[in-house]
Symmetry: C2
Subunit: 463 residues, 2 copies
């Protein structure tokens, strides 16, 4: 075991396996804040990764966050800022004086600076851009000239490339003589004389080959070129689908202008998933650190739409007031019809939204999927119709009531299956994220159709 590598950090990190801030460290840090002991704070936070310190800041209440930054302020470096949730960045940046901020951002790679400034207001962004060296600032401004959420925002501009006629020896000599190779790179991009990417060569194969071997003969099988304007969601999909590690980015003329690596794609994939899961529940904010007012506001629109659709369902019920007055049992059973339809609809909807995201549901198999979901809905509808028909019959002693709820349930489960597939597919065709608003549409349909079928049948059969 040599001295250079076995630093305390490594030991500490190896011991910590759950990757969560343990209670002891948490308590220690709060104690350090209480007694205002910067050295204790330093010793507790030194082994922590920037991402964990960012998590710590996110979990603090605003008071503790302020105390932490004041006691720690010498060292809030760029990595912590770029790991921090967007909703907190501006708050933390306000604690830093201009010199500290400049120092912090100068350590960042240009794609991280882009990530940092793209959501800021102009004054804050200017302050950060002003702190950068000229060449870095130009790189960031060029990246910002691409549309938000495009490959251009995601890529690094530093690419290691070689003409496609080079040999292994030429590539190694070139790399050894180049001063400023990127910190992290995994491939050499082979380009033709017009700078168009032709293939990737992994560094591993390069190392394992003799000097006289042609780079072109080492080309990797899995090779994709990403257009700079491509949506980052499609970029993440390509990395996931084709197991890419890095992919060259090209401009409209097909010329190499940057590279995207799998770690960036993984972050996008994670964000897209988060967005889908939250949108399905009608949540647009994404952070626990968001304030009460913002959170409350961000959830209002969805609840408001839900209120309107719930009133629509009530209007359906109101048409049958006389029937309900005659048979109060109907009011008792109403929520069951709504609940079963809503649940079955949500199941189908979620499967469809996922299948659209993974491109497993396409025009080619849409009709087959709809038929499958309808059949499943009918089968489950019949199963629960039998159960609930018996419940209705036994509970209220009315065989016809059992018949009514059974028939309504079958209708509603079929509506749920159709709405759960066709609503997200339709939204997707219209260019709307299928996760958005699908939930309300589908449950509105199952509620209204369920109530109408149940109360309508009751009126015909029972009255």
């Amino acid at each position: 075991m040599s001295e250079e590598t076995e630093t305390p950090d490594v030991v500490e990190e190896r011991e910590e396996q759950a990757y969560a801030l343990d209670r002891k460290t948490w308590a220690g840090i709060l104690y350090a804040l209480d007694v205002e002991d910067p050295e204790l704070l330093e010793s507790l936070t030194a082994p922590m990764h920037a991402a964990d310190i960012a998590d710590l800041l996110e979990q603090f209440n605003p008071y503790d966050r302020g105390r932490f930054i004041r006691l720690y302020s010498g060292d809030i470096h760029g990595d912590i800022l770029s790991e921090l949730d967007e909703s907190l960045r501006e708050e933390v940046i306000r604690f830093l004086d201009p010199d500290q901020l400049a120092e912090a951002v100068r350590t960042l790679e240009s794609d991280d600076v882009v990530d940092l400034v793209e959501d800021m207001d102009d004054a804050d962004a200017e302050a950060i851009l002003g702190a950068l060296e000229d060449s870095d600032r130009v790189a960031v401004q060029q990246a910002l000239s691409f549309p938000e959420g495009s490959a251009g925002r995601l890529m690094q501009r530093e690419v290691v490339w070689a003409p496609d006629h080079w040999t292994v020896g030429e590539a190694i000599d070139y790399m050894r003589n180049t001063e400023d190779l990127p910190d992290q790179f995994y491939h050499i991009v082979l380009v033709d004389p017009r700078m168009r990417p032709m293939a990737n060569v992994t560094l591993g194969r390069l190392m394992a080959s003799r000097r006289e071997v042609k780079l072109a003969d080492l080309a990797e099988e899995s090779f994709r070129v990403i257009p700079v304007t491509q949506d980052e969601e499609d970029v993440a999909y390509a990395f996931n689908q084709y197991h890419l590690i890095s992919a060259p980015v090209v401009d409209d003329d097909g010329r190499l202008i940057g590279v995207i690596t799998i770690d960036d794609a993984m972050i996008v994939l994670d964000e897209e998933h988060e967005e889908d899961i939250l949108l399905l529940a009608g949540v647009t904010e994404s952070s626990l650190s968001e304030g009460v007012i913002e959170t409350s506001k961000s959830r209002l629109p969805w609840l408001f739409i839900n209120m309107c659709t719930a009133v629509l369902s009530s209007i359906v019920i109101a048409q049958f007031e006389d029937t309900i007055e005659a048979f109060v049992a109907l009011a008792v059973l109403l929520p069951i019809v709504a609940s079963m339809g809503g649940n079955a609809g949500t199941q189908t909807l979620t499967v469809s939204v996922r299948a659209l995201a993974t491109r497993d549901l396409t025009a080619a198999n849409l009709m087959r999927v709809v038929r499958r979901e309808a059949t499943v809905g009918l089968m489950n509808g019949v199963a629960f119709a039998v159960c609930l028909g018996i419940v209705g019959m036994v509970w209220f002693g009315m065989p016809q009531l059992g018949l009514v709820i059974a028939a309504a349930l079958i209708v509603n489960m079929l509506v749920a299956a159709l709405a759960g597939t066709l609503v997200p597919v339709t939204l997707d065709r219209l260019g709307v994220d299928p996760a958005l608003a699908s939930g309300t549409f589908v449950t509105t349909m199952t509620d209204m159709m369920g109530f109408f079928a149940f109360l309508g049948l009751a009126t015909v059969i029972l009255l």
Copy 2:
């Protein structure tokens, strides 16, 4: 532009940017199946990535799938099998004769074979293991000896490592003289004399350094060791949180036994997300290729639980039959109370489940998050209480009815906030996936409490 690199595949792949099977190709393939033209099929599928051919097989109906495999059967290679959805693998494997199967799996890396056989029944798994060469079979069997879903199943056993006292020159000479380096590797793992990993050196930094530089001086900052028994979910979290590209896997004594790379972690992350999003909706199957019977069966348990809880809510309503008989308007408004509470609860629940998954919600900030959600719930409750109070008053001309629905709504939104946070946290503490069953628990609470508050208040105030 040189001949070797500009293959038809590359051109084809560059042109296809949407990453989805286009309609023309799809129609062409179906035509090839209809006229039974293996050459046309070959020419259409040749440019396709194995992952896309697997998608194609998934989107076919069983009849076309059979026709495709018969016409294509010479070439269903291992990559396609390992990309294929689990529910279809056994169906496709049954079309292959033992020689074809043996040929198919021999081309796979050992971790892909593990992925292939771990969900098979014993006879099929034996057939595949029997087709492997001895050394590969041993590797697969060793991997299978680790628990399912552990780092041991995920890792590759082929690691490039070096003693931590080596220089760049020694490492390069070693690699150039080693016959069977892995196809894809990005780091050299430095180990101490007891084979314990000390640091990672990226190949890029290695290439850029002079021969006499010590490897230890090039060690990467971000370095994590993964215990072989660690849950794959934690592995994926670590890669995502700490931006790892590859990480050494160690046995109980801390000795290097394998390596996990970011592409494996990305697949796990994707699967975990899929599981969460589906579980939240009460779906346990994950594939559109699953048959109708299996799908129907897999959705029944959740719907059954939902039926039972819906009946519980009905029982609450049944206690107030007299009140409803006196004021049928109550039956009309009931679904609104349930729907608003259910939606608010689902919003809070989803945020909590995500925050637990990303470790943003911990013991340290639980109380603060609960207070925040309760405050948001109360604020939104009051906002909608005013709206719906007015609706109730105007619609039915009864001021007291407006008051009742307003009060019930505030109670219900508060219940939704508390249940939406505390239910998933409790499940998580009990070691249950918080996404599982949270939905039913939360909506049952909001339904029952909502109906009880609404009808109870109505009984007190209106009767």
